[in-house]
Symmetry: C2
Subunit: 62 residues, 2 copies
Amino acid sequence: MCDVNVFVVKNGVEEKVLENVDLIEEVPDGIRLVNIFGEERTLKAKMVLYNNSEKRMLFQSF
Amino acid sequence: MCDVNVFVVKNGVEEKVLENVDLIEEVPDGIRLVNIFGEERTLKAKMVLYNNSEKRMLFQSF
């Protein structure tokens, strides 16, 4: 599986937002994440890191 | 392989920037892409789409 785990940093603290994310898209109120189970989250954040080897994507909240 | 192909949209035109991207990170002058062959590109852009099934990541230039 090539899905990624998405983390967000807010005020210097990093937390996992959603695992097994398959689709990420810009929407009017931020960035929408959808995982392979159909779970969704929307963030007001920008991507600052994608590490394929670690299956890891990091967003900075704003 | 779970690497992605990176595209950028600039003035409404989409073009492929780099294939087989393994690492993306924010740097002082933009977003730095590195692929599995060690090739690099730096963009002034934000991610607007990630589609894992299509191995595709799209950035909007600014």
